[in-house]
């Protein structure tokens, strides 16, 4: 490991010297790029992630001067991989640079992949608003390239996080759109009730009983088999409990559903919000009485 570190520093010094020298014949940037690449590789072997990242950024600068845009973008991606272990912000900025370069040279599918990677980094850092923004960009690019499956995956992430940020209308539109697309696909249509359940839960969070009723009617028109499912039954019963402002009935309905199909944490969080709102309303009524 010490040998790798010494070799890496040696290569880096040579590269810097090459850059600062006046080259009469041949390109100094090309030679410096080669040396920077070797240096970064040695830094990685020595597990010096910060230095490897900064060296890859210098490599990207050399490639940009040589007008080799694809190599520059690849160097930025390598830098992001190194920084991912130590510095998330640097990693994101490197991937951002790579995405910009891929957009310039027209490689939108690769740009979309790295936008998704940025979104996943923000997700792991629990920065939900930024994750939503980048997932949205990624979905747009995937749609431009007609990769609908990946676009829908990103859109579902956008819907999920938008609901957590209490932007329910946006989530509802996305889930309904995905449900419509899934209906036309014979392989995916059996998952439609899951999407409609998610959309229905977002409607419940808005707290408008008339809107919930209209949404349920719309879902029946969309998918005739939905009215016979337990998901529809759950949504209808919860809507009735909200209309009657009965917390006990609400809890009973959810408990029955949960005993057969355990709710995941996202649904639990949203339904808990509905219950808290209902409880607050009930307490208000008691005070008035």
């Amino acid at each position: 490991m010490g040998d790798h570190l010494a070799r890496a520093e040696d290569f880096e010094n040579k590269a810097e010297k090459k850059l600062s020298s006046w080259g009469l014949f041949g390109s100094k940037f090309e030679d410096a790029a080669d040396l920077f690449d070797k240096s970064a590789n040695s830094y990685k072997l020595a597990k010096s992630w910060d230095k490897a990242g900064s060296t890859y950024i210098k490599l990207a600068s050399c490639h940009l001067k040589l007008e080799s845009k694809h190599e520059a973008a690849q160097a930025y991606v390598d830098a992001a991989r190194c920084y991912k272990k130590t510095n998330i912000n640097e990693s994101v900025s490197c991937l951002d640079n790579a995405v910009n370069i891929f957009c310039e040279i027209g490689r939108l599918s690769m740009a979309a992949r790295y936008l998704k990677e940025i979104a996943e980094l923000y997700e792991s850092e629990q920065n939900i608003s930024q994750a939503v923004a980048y997932y949205e960009k990624s979905a747009d690019f995937f749609e431009n390239e007609e990769v609908n499956t990946s676009a829908n995956q990103c859109k579902q992430k956008v819907a999920q996080f938008s609901a957590q940020l209490e932007q329910y209308q946006r989530s509802i539109e996305i889930y309904e759109d995905i449900a419509r697309q899934s209906l036309s696909n014979t392989l995916l249509k059996y998952g439609v009730k899951g999407h409609l359940l998610n959309a229905g839960i977002c409607e419940l969070c808005k707290g408008d009983v008339i809107a919930i009723t209209n949404a349920l009617e719309r879902y029946q028109d969309l998918d005739p088999t939905f009215s016979g499912t337990r998901e529809y039954r759950l949504l209808a019963d919860i809507a009735a409990a909200i209309d009657e402002e009965d917390v006990g009935k609400f809890t009973e309905v959810i408990k029955e559903f949960d005993s057969l199909t355990p709710l995941d944490s996202w649904k639990t969080t949203l339904l808990l919000r509905v219950k808290d709102k209902l409880k607050a309303k009930e307490i208000e009524e008691d005070d008035l009485t």
């Binding site: 829908n152 392989l187 059996y190 199909t261 944490s265 639990t268």
Partner: protein, 243 residues
């Protein structure tokens, strides 16, 4: 003059490192008990009966909250110590063992942070789940649940399992579709490459002659430049001699 300074830095480094190791040990113990607390909270939440479900969540919640804040403060302290060690290492000489130890400590801090975040997320979701399903009418609900028909429940449970399988199949299908799209784009790319290579092969003689022309032009430029430099130098020498 430098010896006391170096000794001072070394002692500071060793002291910081000792403290870092102590905090890492504390963090390890506390994370383990935190995870056990989460497991106990789950068992407490699923308990039946009004009295039993009443008191354990509150007690668990209180100790869970204090434990969480304790771990958070320990992580922040460890982060500060790592920063101090980093500054100490930077001011000292470039020693390889110091850099390795520093990287090791940073990795440990990263692992603990990830572990804490994961356990915290789990406990949060468990607590929300328990809170959603708990009610003052648990007795009535239990009574109604016990009164329902057994065969119907079994059928519904089986149907839920089938739905779960369908969800898993959907995930696999979406992965397969994504892979197919990527492979399609790769094939398009290779077709383009093949076309370009064929065109290049057709034009290979032209390229060869082009390269020859470039090489001759470059050598001619070099000769011209050399001649000009030689002429100027000769002129300077003659002028200097004549003056």
């Amino acid at each position: 003059m430098r010896d006391p300074n170096l000794e001072l830095q070394e002692s500071g480094w060793e002291e910081l490192r000792k403290e870092a190791r102590k905090i890492e040990g504390d963090l390890d113990v506390k994370l383990s008990s935190y995870a056990k607390l989460g497991a106990r909270f789950t068992q407490g939440g699923s308990g039946s009966g009004y009295v039993d479900s009443g008191s354990p969540p509150i007690g668990s919640s209180r100790s869970w909250k204090s434990m969480e804040m304790e771990i958070q403060s320990l992580l922040e302290k460890l982060l500060d110590i790592n920063d101090s060690m980093s500054r100490c290492a930077a001011s000292a000489g470039p020693a390889t063992s110091v850099t390795q130890k520093l990287a090791r400590h940073r990795d440990i801090l990263h692992e603990f942070t990830q572990e804490f975040r994961r356990i915290k997320g789990n406990i949060n979701s468990m607590r929300e789940h328990a809170e959603l399903l708990s009610s003052v009418r648990d007795d009535i609900t239990d009574f109604k649940t016990s009164g329902s028909m057994s065969p119907r429940m079994q059928l519904l449970r089986e149907r839920a399992a089938i739905h779960g399988s369908i969800s898993h199949i959907d995930d696999v299908i979406s992965q397969a579709q994504a892979t197919r799209a990527v492979l399609g784009s790769q094939r398009t790319l290779f077709t383009d490459v093949q076309g370009k290579v064929k065109v290049l092969g057709d034009k290979f003689p032209m390229i060869r002659s082009l390269l020859g022309s470039i090489r001759r032009r470059r050598s001619r430029d070099t000769l011209i430049l050399s001649a000009v430099i030689a002429a100027c130098t000769l002129f300077l020498i003659i002028y200097w001699l004549s003056k």
